[in-house]
């Protein structure tokens, strides 16, 4: 089961560029939360702060606190521990090209020294079933390279790879923006089903997508969180003028 995230006074910089300013946002457990906003508004930086990926850039800096479950990930844990609990799916599928599909999916477990063959088999099957890829690849799990799949299949494999370590939170940074509509709709169905078991944070440019998969939606603009509310409210009766302008297509 997933856990909630409590973000308090989060600030982030790239060099001198103040990309996130005083973000306060509670992400509910076992729900999907969508983050929308124009390009460069800070939403990607925000999700990258939730698994301490932001700081892998040498000029990046973060202040504030992020509590995942009962742990402050910036005070009480090492980045490695945080990322074991928080899975991430990136904008472009990034399979390990030299590994088979099987090895790709269980790579997170194997690198941590998980050696139980029988359980690895179970985990790979479960993760691939969860990401709706099992039926398409079950016959050449160990024969085909992860990079030989189509783009949509690769992305679902990457989701399976993230799910295999049974994370408490799943971060998705525009997971469908590089995919065709059919693959996109498969990924959306997937998110819709996974959110009962995991806390999902999804960044998207596509407002229909946010409306389709998420219960909660946050609107970012120029590094600030303008509005955070139920998706229904954001898309039917937003409280802030800027949110309304954005979702009606007047800018962005």
């Amino acid at each position: 089961m997933g856990v909630g995230i409590e973000v308090t006074n989060l600030n982030a910089w790239y060099g001198t560029n103040h990309t996130l300013q005083d973000i306060n946002l509670p992400v509910p457990a076992n729900h999907a939360t969508a983050l929308i906003g124009p390009s460069g508004c800070g939403k990607s930086t925000f999700v990258r702060c939730l698994n301490r990926m932001h700081e892998t850039n040498p000029v990046a800096r973060v202040t504030g606190s992020v509590r995942i479950g009962d742990q402050d990930i910036y005070a009480d844990a090492s980045p490695v521990e945080v990322r074991r609990r928080v899975g991430m799916v990136f904008q472009r599928p990034n399979p390990f090209p030299t590994m088979s599909i099987y090895d790709n999916v269980c790579s997170g477990l194997k690198l941590n020294g998980f050696r139980n063959r029988k359980m690895l088999d179970e985990v790979v099957e479960r993760s691939l079933r969860q990401s709706a890829l099992w039926d398409e690849v079950k016959d050449d799990l160990k024969k085909k390279s992860g990079a030989s799949l189509s783009g949509g299949q690769q992305q679902r494999m990457c989701i399976a790879r993230a799910l295999a370590v049974d994370p408490e939170v799943l971060l998705m940074d525009e997971p469908a923006s590089a995919l065709d509509p059919v693959s996109t709709s498969k990924i959306e169905d997937l998110i819709f089903e996974l959110k009962s078991q995991y806390t999902i944070v999804i960044v998207t440019h596509n407002m229909q997508q946010a409306a389709r998969v998420a219960e909660k939606t946050g609107f970012f603009l120029n590094g600030r969180l303008v509005e955070f509310d139920s998706t229904h409210k954001i898309f039917t009766n937003p409280s802030d003028k800027r949110t309304e302008d954005y979702i009606t297509g007047r800018f962005g």
Binding site: R84, N112, D166, A211
Partner: protein, 365 residues
């Protein structure tokens, strides 16, 4: 008025629960792994140690070279690299006479730089041609074998190149190639018009006696030796240029050559300069093949056909016979100088890359 975007309500239908035995066990297992901070620190320390070893080795070499060359450093000082005595009989400059204790290193500096420049002048255009052919226009069945052969050239030991040069290349140059250059460079009208540049005629680049051996032969051997290095590295960086870049140029109506120029060479230029620097480094330090064909005479002549000597080959030829302390120390100082020349040339090349690419948009890939 906000247009209605249909919000899909969660139908609440439970998906298969993931709290199977496997799931929680995985979490327990991962949590038991600790934060791995110690392992990470150890790894970092080990890698730093490896990198530090390089500094130590370089420092030790420099220190030792400086210590061992103290006798000549103190006796001759900096003039070691540019002064000379005058032979009382022939009135010619006398640079290097171990028997009488004259040690000035200018001819070796000159020989090293000139042979390396000849090598670059021949090898750079040739290897660019090889690389362009291999990446852009070679039929598939030829590509593998050709690339393999190019790389094979780099694997031949330099003494074998030297032998081949002595028995094949030197006679070939003497009989067929040098006469052509001599007839061109010594053409009367050229001598008359440009004789003042000292590039043409009897005291020009191809004047004097045609021995076959000499700086030109050494340069040609070096060119053959560095060609595979430059060609294969250049091929590598050109292959790394994404295909989409070529398509971008082709879609603008570019011809094959224009595509290569704006999409491939431009993107690969830093890598190409890098490979040329590596080739130059090999040429500067190459010892055996040069020693076998350069003629080993410590003199400076305008003519490329004249014999000369290089820094590396004088060390190889004389260190076993260096009986006096001063001779030994002079050779070691030449070694130190060779080291410095290599560093300076590399530095200049890097500066060139920096100057050319300053302010330019970032490289692709």
């Amino acid at each position: 008025m906000v247009p209605p975007i249909p919000v899909r309500e969660n139908d609440g239908a439970a998906v298969e629960p993931s709290t199977s035995a496997g799931a929680s066990e995985i979490r327990k297992f991962l949590q038991s792994r600790g934060n791995s901070a110690l392992a990470d620190q150890t790894f970092k320390g080990l890698m730093m140690l490896c990198a530090f070893c390089i500094f130590v080795v370089v420092a030790l070499i420099v220190v030792e070279l400086i210590l061992q060359s103290q006798p000549t450093l103190q006796k001759f000082g900096l003039p070691f690299f540019f002064k000379y005595n005058v032979d009382p009989v022939t009135k010619m400059p006398l640079f290097w006479d171990p028997v009488n204790g004259t040690f000035y290193a200018l001819p070796f500096l000159y020989g090293t730089l000139v042979t390396s420049l000849i090598a670059l002048a021949i090898a750079v255009p040739l290897s660019l041609g090889v690389a362009i052919f291999l990446t852009e226009m070679c039929p598939k069945f030829l590509r593998g074998p050709l690339a393999f052969l190019t790389e094979l050239l780099a694997a031949i030991p330099s003494v074998v190149y030297g032998l081949w040069a002595v028995f094949v290349l030197v006679p070939l140059l003497r009989e067929h190639v040098n006469p052509v250059f001599m007839s061109v460079f010594n053409a009367p009208w050229l001598v008359k018009a440009f004789g003042w540049t000292h590039l043409f005629g009897d005291d020009g680049l191809f004047g004097g006696v045609n021995l076959g051996l000499g700086m030109f032969a050494a340069g040609v051997v070096l060119a053959i030796m560095i060609l595979p290095i430059i060609a294969s590295l250049t091929r590598e960086v050109m292959t790394a240029v994404p295909h989409s870049q070529r398509e971008a140029a082709l879609a603008l109506g570019a011809t094959r050559w224009e595509t290569i120029r704006i999409a491939v060479l431009r993107n690969a230029r830093i890598g190409i300069v890098g490979s040329i620097i590596l080739g130059l480094g090999r040429a500067l330090g190459e010892t055996m093949a040069v020693a076998m064909v350069i003629g080993n005479t410590p003199q400076i002549q305008m003519s490329l056909l004249s014999t000369g000597n290089s820094m590396a080959s004088v060390i190889a030829n004389e260190f076993s016979e260096a009986t006096s302390d001063l001779h030994r120390s002079a050779l070691i100082e030449i070694g130190l100088a060779l080291f410095l020349v290599t560093i300076i040339v590399n530095g200049l090349a890097r500066l060139l890359v920096w100057a050319v690419t300053r302010g330019a948009p970032a490289r692709v890939n």
